[in-house]
């Protein structure tokens, strides 16, 4: 089952590269059939990713979030989940050209990591919290990646003169929707992490580097939501905040590789 999961990752990677090329072609040509191929390839890649996560779950015997390889795959799945949700809501296929490269990059990164199925160490042996805590992180990070893609679109779309991109107002709303999907999930990441810390280590907060980085990320998006309520901050400034926020998200994701602390076990 683990081997099948690895084949599925490669299938997802190839399909998403195809989806990315179709999305770029659609963004430039605006041809409806190309857009349909792009969405089809995106959905197929998403289906492969879903199958990867399920088969890996069966192979592991627990939610597949216990090392950097598994989380990179899950992170890609989260981005595609959020992307498909937002794409369907806003019918904005151009977004795919800016978002799909992120899961492609993550899957390439995953392919460079050891992919053996490994049993859980004692600290991670809490099936419920492992599943929910990390699943929330996957959705939150995925939503923030989509918002980041939208922010890049917004910054390119100057004065609504770039014809191959949606209008700024629509992009702004799209980013906002992506953030309000990820924001409560990120809060749940923090709270469920606190609950887990309280069970395993007897403290719900210890300023561990990873949890502090997650708090920083949440605070940046809290700042974005407040900024978005101000006319003077809506638009370019809040888009820059989204780029900073996704930088913090990646810092939180990779943090345990070089920051140490109580989350260091979940490295490579």
């Amino acid at each position: 089952m683990g081997q099948l999961s690895n084949y599925l990752v490669v299938s997802a990677l190839i399909t998403l590269v195809g989806a990315f090329l179709f999305y770029v072609a659609f963004t430039i040509t605006k041809r409806k059939d190309v857009g349909q191929y792009a969405s089809l390839a995106g959905y197929l890649g998403y289906a492969f990713l879903t199958a990867t996560v399920i088969t890996r779950w069966i192979a592991d015997g627990h939610a597949p979030y216990s090392n950097q390889y598994e989380f990179a795959v899950a992170f890609s799945w989260g981005i595609m989940t959020a992307f498909i949700y937002v794409e369907r809501q806003f019918r904005s296929r151009a977004l795919g050209a800016f978002v799909v490269p992120v899961p492609v990059g993550l899957l390439l990164y995953a392919r460079s990591l050891p992919d053996q199925v490994q049993p859980l160490i004692p600290a991670l042996q809490n099936n419920l919290l492992l599943t929910v805590h990390v699943a929330m992180a996957v959705i939150a990070y995925g939503s923030f990646a989509v918002a980041c893609g939208g922010a890049v679109m917004y910054l390119i779309q100057r004065d609504d003169k770039v014809r191959w991109l949606p209008f700024r107002q629509d992009i702004d709303l799209l980013c906002y929707r992506a953030v309000i999907l990820g924001f409560p999930c990120m809060f749940l990441v923090l709270v469920l992490g606190a609950a887990w810390g309280n069970i395993a280590w007897g403290r719900y907060w210890g300023f561990d580097p990873k949890e502090t980085a997650a708090l920083t990320t949440w605070l940046i998006y809290a700042g974005y939501l407040h900024a978005h309520s101000l006319k003077s901050w809506r638009g370019t400034r809040s888009s820059v905040l989204l780029l900073v926020g996704f930088g913090a998200t990646l810092f939180t994701y990779y943090g345990n590789l070089f920051l140490g602390g109580l989350h260091a076990y979940s490295g490579l």
Binding site: Q125, I199, A200, W201, Y204, P209, T212, T216, A227
Partner: protein, 473 residues
């Protein structure tokens, strides 16, 4: 050429504000809150990226000094400057606490400031009787020449919207020609719930800091009993400790079999694992670490005066990185340190041995005796006989009493409810206005408002369709 007359502008009201109002307005400002959040983010980022003094060391200046000295290899000439600036203890530093405190005040002031307006908005019915409002609304619709009279038309629309789950409020002054409808009006209060949750969360943290207690070094050798402490009358006996490993070598399970007693009365037998703490009254006992212990016997003139397991759970500067344990012989005026080998290649202490050093209380630097104990071979100092009986294990626990934790999690629940209320159940408002048409029947205007809700145009369309069906147009 005429010169325009100079008009002296009236002073801006803002310039004459008293200091309290200025401070109040500052704390109400979203821009100021945003600035504080960004400063907090910056400080938190620095605290995350730069190594922090481990919490158990912070209360001991000597250990902190030693830790900072070790940081020279990482931060070089900047080490001392970073230390003096408090960067190595960022989350306990004055700037971090100041900004966190200031942001808390902002949240509180902003919440109090907005409360009356939000409460009014929740309870006031904003009737819209002018057609210009409908024409300018972001979501609006118009239908001319509806067969029904204005009052009939509005009554039918009201019924249709009620069926969609809206609260419908007729306008008593419009003779039935105007109606207001809304959903989730109480969700406007959700912002208070989340902001009060934030303040309560900090209150939970403060309660933990002020009234919580923890012992991260609660160590029990196998077969021994130790007082739990933390204001409880309980003792904990460690029956057994097991560490299991997978075939690949990774850790599989750490578990301690313990018996909790109050005096001679047994309270509970339990197994403590990493994710399965034991709750004893107000205290939780968490499995944290384990290590080597030695069983030692001390005799004086043939009489046993001490026999217990000594956990080698500590380190001391004078012994380098070797595991150290200690016990006291108060009747002899002696503190005794036991030191194990750092690794198999340690030249000073070999496998099956422990080094032993005796000190007079209050003088930890000049041992009165020292040597190496080999298992089951007694060694003598004056009239005392020391025997290293056998090796065993100890289990290390974190014993915690934390009255702030429940407050923290209640606050987290409030924040979540507030956030979901604000973003997923925003206040949706609809209006309908009917006026007699010049062609007979009625002209009907509809409008809807729900800021920043991408789904609302579809909801408004559904409301318009329901109205159209009711009006048979």
């Amino acid at each position: 050429m005429s010169v325009p007359e100079l008009v002296v502008a009236a002073p801006r009201p803002g310039l004459r504000l008293d200091p309290f109002t200025r401070v109040w307005r500052l704390f109400c400002s979203v821009k100021f809150a945003l600035a504080q959040i960004l400063v907090l983010v910056l400080l938190t980022f620095v605290g995350t990226a730069i190594s922090q003094v481990p919490p158990p060391m912070r209360s001991d200046p000597q250990l902190v000094e030693r830790w900072v000295a070790a940081m020279h290899s990482r931060y070089g000439v900047f080490t001392d400057a970073l230390y003096r600036a408090g960067v190595f203890d960022m989350f306990g530093s004055a700037p971090f606490r100041f900004v966190l405190g200031s942001l808390t005040v902002s949240v509180l002031v902003c919440t109090l400031n907005r409360a009356p307006a939000v409460w009014r908005a929740t309870n006031t019915i904003p009737f819209q009787r002018r057609t210009s409002y409908y024409e300018k609304a972001e979501d609006h619709a118009f239908s001319g020449g509806v067969a029904a009279t204005p009052a009939e038309a509005v009554a039918r629309i009201a019924e249709a919207w009620r069926a969609l789950g809206y609260r419908v409020v007729p306008d008593p002054t419009s003779s039935g020609a105007h109606v207001y409808a809304d959903r989730y009006r109480l969700a406007r209060l959700a912002t208070f719930v989340s902001h009060l949750g934030l303040i309560l969360m900090l209150g939970g943290g403060a309660t933990t800091m002020l009234f919580g207690e923890r012992n991260d070094g609660f160590v029990i050798p196998v077969g021994s009993t130790r007082a739990l402490g933390l204001g409880t009358p309980y003792t904990v006996h460690l029956d057994a400790f097991t560490d299991e490993y997978y075939l690949q070598g990774g850790a599989k399970d750490y578990r301690s079999e313990v018996v909790v007693s109050e005096g001679d009365r047994e309270i509970e037998r339990a197994t403590i694992r990493v994710n399965e703490p034991l709750v004893v009254g107000p205290v939780k006992i968490h499995q944290a670490y384990f290590g080597q212990a030695v069983v030692v016997e001390v005799k004086k003139n043939g009489q046993t005066i001490y026999q217990d397991s000594v956990p080698l759970a500590y380190q001391a500067m004078q012994y380098g990185f070797r595991p150290v344990g200690f016990f006291r012989l108060p009747t002899e005026g002696l503190n005794v340190d036991l030191v194990a080998a750092e690794d198999a290649a340690d030249p000073a202490v070999r496998a099956g041995q422990v080094a032993i050093f005796g000190y007079t209380p209050g003088d930890d630097s000049n041992p009165v005796f020292g040597g190496v104990l080999t298992q089951r071979q007694p060694a003598h100092w004056k009239d005392l006989e020391f025997t290293f009986v056998r090796e065993t294990q100890f289990s290390g626990f974190q014993a915690v009493r934390d009255p702030g934790a429940p407050i923290f999690f209640i606050a987290a629940g409030l924040i979540l409810v507030g956030v979901l209320g604000v973003f997923y159940f925003p206040h949706r408002r609809l209006w309908a206005l009917a006026q007699p048409s010049v062609e007979g029947g009625s002209d009907v205007w509809l409008a809807g408002v729900c800021p920043r809700n991408a789904n609302f145009p579809a909801e408004f369309r559904a409301a318009v369709d329901a109205a159209a069906k009711a009006l048979e147009v």
